[in-house]
């Protein structure tokens, strides 16, 4: 049972990751190219006369070409999907019959929606995605720690919300607002307490920054929505009685 769920999560996660990769490639790559062009133009202006390649340090002396990086996008989203799908399947196995909707399809969608909100949306709202050229390489470690902290906040808040919903008496009109409140309050408090990150260079186009961030959130939405739907659908399909006539 657990093995079946895990294999299902890994394979469908890989598939959903590749679907998200297609979205990111088609919609996101043009904006990444725009940002890199700006980065190189700015760096070239600064490094004028100090050797043409001096500004490439941030991209590892170009040891990987842009074309390879675009292929690497699919490797990254695919492996990301595989890892998330595997962890999701094990969490799903733990929740099944204990917490959440009774049907596998309902639980898959509810868990994927909650996962997206807790692990993606919460960190994104505090520390939104940045295109190349935005962000100081010197602060990468502290920014990564803060980002992980917000994932922790999101997961903890989701757990508080679920616990609250289960302990509040009354129907859905009492439980849902209580759950939403129990999610939003800790997220808001943590966002106010954690330090802000403001490393957008002067003159970086606001429209490009906005477009990139929305596309980044969209890439994650494509992944979580397609994964949750696929996982739920395959679970429901596997549950169907085998006696049903199968057209040859």
């Amino acid at each position: 049972m657990v093995r079946t769920l895990l294999v299902r999560g890994l394979l469908l996660g890989l598939l959903a990751g590749l679907v998200a990769g297609v979205f990111a490639f088609a919609v996101g790559e043009p904006r990444v190219d725009d940002a890199i062009a700006l980065e190189n133009a700015t760096a070239a202006a600064h490094e004028h006369g100090h050797g043409a390649a001096a500004h490439e340090h941030e991209h590892g002396e170009e040891e990987v070409s842009r074309g390879t990086q675009k292929a690497g996008l699919f490797l990254a989203t695919g492996l990301y999907g595989l890892a998330v799908g595997g962890v999701f399947a094990l969490v799903f196995a733990g929740l099944r019959g204990r917490v959440g909707p009774r049907s596998d399809g309902g639980l898959a969608l509810a868990a994927a929606g909650t996962g997206f909100a807790a692990v993606i949306l919460v960190p994104f709202l505090k520390y939104p995605a940045n295109p190349p050229a935005v962000g100081d390489p010197e602060t990468i470690n502290s920014r990564t720690v803060l980002y992980l902290a917000m994932i922790g906040v999101g997961l903890l808040s989701a757990a508080i919300a679920v616990t609250t919903a289960r302990s509040v008496p009354g129907g859905p009109w009492a439980r849902w607002p209580a759950a939403v409140l129990a999610f939003i309050v800790p997220v808001t408090v943590a966002s106010l307490l954690l330090p802000a990150v403001d490393e957008v260079p002067d003159g970086f186009p606001a429209t490009l920054l906005w477009q990139f961030r929305i596309i980044s959130l969209g890439t994650q939405l494509v992944f979580w929505a397609s994964f949750g739907t696929l996982f739920g659908w395959f679970c429901e399909r596997a549950e169907r009685p085998a006696r049903a006539p199968v057209p040859a």
Partner: protein, 61 residues
């Protein structure tokens, strides 16, 4: 609201599978956050996953 239905998977059958979690998190780390320290590939893995990191929304550099 009942807490346990007949559909639940007993913990003794679930727990051994949790050994997969560290391996899965390591894959996630290598894809999203490695800067050469763990993978020992210098910046290669970072550069290969570069566009994915930016578009998946994690801090890249």
């Amino acid at each position: 609201m009942s807490t346990l239905s007949a559909r639940h998977i007993p913990l003794p059958r679930l727990i051994p599978w949790l050994l997969a979690v560290p391996a899965l998190l390591l894959i996630g780390y290598l894809v999203l956050m490695d800067n050469g320290a763990v993978s020992q590939t210098g910046g290669y893995l970072h550069e290969l996953m570069h566009d994915g990191r930016h578009l998946l929304g994690v801090p890249c550099h």
